[in-house]
C-alpha cells in the first residue's frame, strides 16, 4: 500500500474513530460504571437515528439538531429503563445476571423487528448541507459528514468528562462503580445515582444515534454490527474511563479504516469482534484499565 493511501486511511480512521467514541461513551457509563449489561445500547442508538430520519421527514430538521432535541425524551427513556431493570432484576438477586442479559437482548431484538415493520429493511438516510460534500485540503478529501460527526463526538466526550469530574452526580456515578455502600453512607441514594447516570448515558445515545445516520444510511440490522464495535471499545478502554474510551475508539477506527483500503477489506466486519475476543482472552482489564 503506498504512503498516500495509508495517510488517507489513517485520517479517515481517526474521523471514524471519533464517531465510534461518541457511540461508545454511553455504554462506557451504562456498563463500565453502572454495571448494567446493556446489550441494547446500539439498538437505542439506531432508534435515535430513525428518530432523526422521522424528524427530518416531518419538520425538515437537521439530524444533529434532532439528536439534541431527542436527548430529552431519551433521558426519560433511560431513567424509565433503569428503574424497570432495577426493580425487576437487580433487586431480586439470584440469577439476575442471566435474566437481565436476556431482557436487554430481547429489547434489542424487538426494537430491530419494530424498525423493520415500520420502515422496511431498506436503507434510510437524511439530507444535510454537510452530507455529500468534502473539504479538500491539497491532496486530501475529508468528507464533511465525518468531520461533523467526529466534531460532535468530541463535544460529547468533553461534556461527559466535565460532567463526570465536576458535578456532584457525575462524581457519584463514578463512586457507585467502586463502592455503593460507601456512597450510601455519604447520604447519596445509589439507585437514584444510577438512574440519573443511565438517563444521561441514554441521552447521549440519542445524539450519537443521530450521528449514525449522518455518517451513512441506516438499516434495522445495523445495531447488531455495532454491538461488537462498542463493546470492543468499552472493554478495550478498561471499563468506564472517558479518555480511554475515546482512545480505544480511535484505535478501532484506524484499524478498520486501514483494513478497508487493503486487499483484505472483506474481513473488516470481523476486526472489532476479533479484537474484542483477543482483549477478553488476553487482557480483560482493558488496555487503559485502572
Amino acid at each position: 500500500m503506498d504512503l498516500e493511501l495509508l495517510i488517507d486511511a489513517l485520517v479517515a480512521g481517526l474521523l471514524l474513530g471519533g464517531f465510534y467514541g461518541a457511540l461508545s461513551l454511553g455504554l462506557a457509563i451504562a456498563f463500565g460504571l453502572l454495571d448494567v449489561p446493556h446489550i441494547a445500547h446500539p439498538a437505542f442508538a439506531l432508534l435515535g437515528a430513525y428518530g432523526a430520519v422521522l424528524m427530518q421527514g416531518w419538520f425538515g430538521l437537521d439530524p444533529v439538531l434532532s439528536g439534541l432535541i431527542l436527548a430529552l425524551p431519551f433521558y426519560a427513556l433511560g431513567v424509565a429503563v433503569y428503574s424497570f431493570y432495577h426493580t425487576t432484576f437487580e433487586r431480586r438477586g439470584t440469577d439476575a445476571g442471566l435474566r437481565g442479559l436476556a431482557f436487554f437482548f430481547g429489547v434489542a431484538f424487538v426494537a430491530e423487528v419494530i424498525l423493520i415493520l415500520l420502515f422496511g429493511i431498506d436503507q434510510r438516510g437524511v439530507r444535510a448541507p454537510y452530507i455529500g460534500r468534502a473539504l479538500v485540503l491539497g491532496e486530501f478529501r475529508l468528507p464533511w459528514r465525518m468531520l461533523v460527526a467526529s466534531g460532535v463526538a468530541l463535544a460529547i466526550a468533553g461534556a461527559m468528562a466535565l460532567w463526570l469530574s465536576r458535578t456532584y452526580v457525575g462524581r457519584a456515578v463514578q463512586a457507585v462503580a467502586q463502592d455503593a455502600t460507601a456512597l450510601s453512607l455519604l447520604g447519596a441514594d445509589p439507585v437514584r445515582v444510577k438512574r440519573i447516570g443511565f438517563g444521561i448515558a441514554t441521552a447521549s445515545v440519542a445524539l450519537s444515534g443521530a450521528l449514525l445516520v449522518v455518517v451513512g444510511p441506516v438499516e434495522p440490522g445495523l445495531a447488531r454490527i455495532y454491538i461488537g464495535k462498542v463493546f470492543a471499545i468499552v472493554v478495550l478502554a478498561g471499563l468506564g474511563s472517558v479518555g480511554g474510551t475515546v482512545l480505544a475508539a480511535l484505535l478501532l477506527g484506524v484499524i478498520e479504516s486501514v483494513m478497508l483500503s487493503s486487499p483484505v477489506a472483506s474481513w473488516t466486519p470481523a476486526v472489532a469482534f476479533g479484537l474484542l475476543l483477543a482483549v477478553l482472552g488476553l487482557r480483560p482489564q482493558g488496555l487503559f484499565g485502572r
Binding site: 438477586g93 439470584t94 440469577d95 485502572r290
Partner: protein, 235 residues
C-alpha cells in the same frame, strides 16, 4: 502443638493500597483462633488468601506441612480448608439437602444424600431439608453455611463473621455449633466483631490493623493491649 496452617510473610496490594503487609500467622491442629480488627483492616483479605480466592503478591501458605500457594480454591476446599462467607452464599435455587450434596459429591462421598441428611439432622436443619435454600431465615442460612462448609470433613474451618445480624440467642446457637465442630478436631479460625463471642470462643486472639498484626496472645491480654484499644476506639 503441630501447625495445621502456616502463613508466612503474606503481602497483598490492590492498586496502590496495601491490604496485607508481611502477615504471618499459624494455626495449630484443633485450635480455636479468634481474629479481630476494625473494618477494612485486611481480615477477610487474609482469609481469601488462605482459601485461595486471592493470590498474594508475596508470601507463602502451608497446610499440614504442604505448600498450597499454587492450588486453586476448589483444590484447597477438597484437601480440608473449609470456609463460610461473611454474607451467606447459599445455592438459593436448590433445596437445602442438595446444598449439602454439592460438597459431598465433590469430595467423593459414597452416599451423598444419606450423609447430607445426617448432617442436616446434626445441624438442626432436617425439617427444612426440602425447602429452597433461598427461603431460609438468617440463622438457618448461617447454619446451612456451616454445615455445607464442614460436609467435606475439613481440618480447618474459617468462619467469617458467622454471627453478624443474629439475635442474642441465635448467636449462642451458632457459637455452640462452632464449639461442637471444634470438639471433633476441626481447627476453627473465627473472624468476629462480636467481642462476647470472641472472648468465649477463642483460645488465642490475633488483632489485625491496616494489614498488619498488632497484637497476639490470650484473649484477655489482647483486649487489654493499648494498641488494640487505640485501633478500636480511635483513642
Amino acid at each position: 502443638m503441630t501447625a495445621v496452617l502456616e502463613v508466612t510473610g503474606v503481602v497483598k496490594r490492590f492498586g496502590g493500597f496495601t491490604a496485607l503487609s508481611e502477615v504471618s500467622i499459624s494455626v495449630g491442629a484443633g485450635e480455636r483462633l479468634g481474629i479481630i480488627g476494625p473494618n477494612g483492616s485486611g481480615k477477610t483479605t487474609l482469609m481469601n488468601v488462605i482459601a485461595g480466592r486471592i493470590r498474594p503478591d508475596a508470601g507463602g501458605v502451608r497446610f499440614e506441612g504442604r505448600d498450597i500457594g499454587a492450588l486453586p480454591a476448589w483444590r484447597r476446599a477438597r484437601i480440608g480448608i473449609a470456609r463460610s462467607f461473611q454474607i451467606p452464599l447459599p445455592f438459593g435455587s436448590m433445596s437445602v439437602l442438595d446444598n449439602l450434596r454439592v460438597p459431598l459429591e465433590q469430595g467423593g462421598e459414597a452416599d451423598p444424600p444419606g450423609r447430607a441428611a445426617a448432617l442436616l439432622e446434626d445441624f438442626g436443619l432436617f425439617p427444612r431439608a426440602a425447602a429452597r435454600a433461598g427461603d431460609l431465615s438468617q440463622v438457618e442460612l448461617r447454619k446451612l453455611e456451616l454445615a455445607r462448609a464442614v460436609a467435606g470433613n475439613p481440618r480447618l474451618l474459617i468462619s467469617d463473621e458467622a454471627m453478624a445480624g443474629l439475635s442474642g440467642s441465635e448467636i449462642d446457637e451458632v457459637l455452640e455449633l462452632l464449639l461442637r465442630l471444634n470438639a471433633r478436631g476441626i481447627a476453627v479460625v473465627m473472624i468476629e466483631h462480636m467481642m462476647r463471642a470472641i472472648m468465649r470462643f477463642s483460645g488465642r486472639v490475633v488483632c489485625i490493623e491496616a494489614g498488619r498484626i498488632i497484637a497476639e496472645g490470650p484473649p484477655d491480654a489482647v483486649v487489654a493491649d493499648p494498641g488494640v484499644r487505640r485501633a478500636y476506639l480511635g483513642a
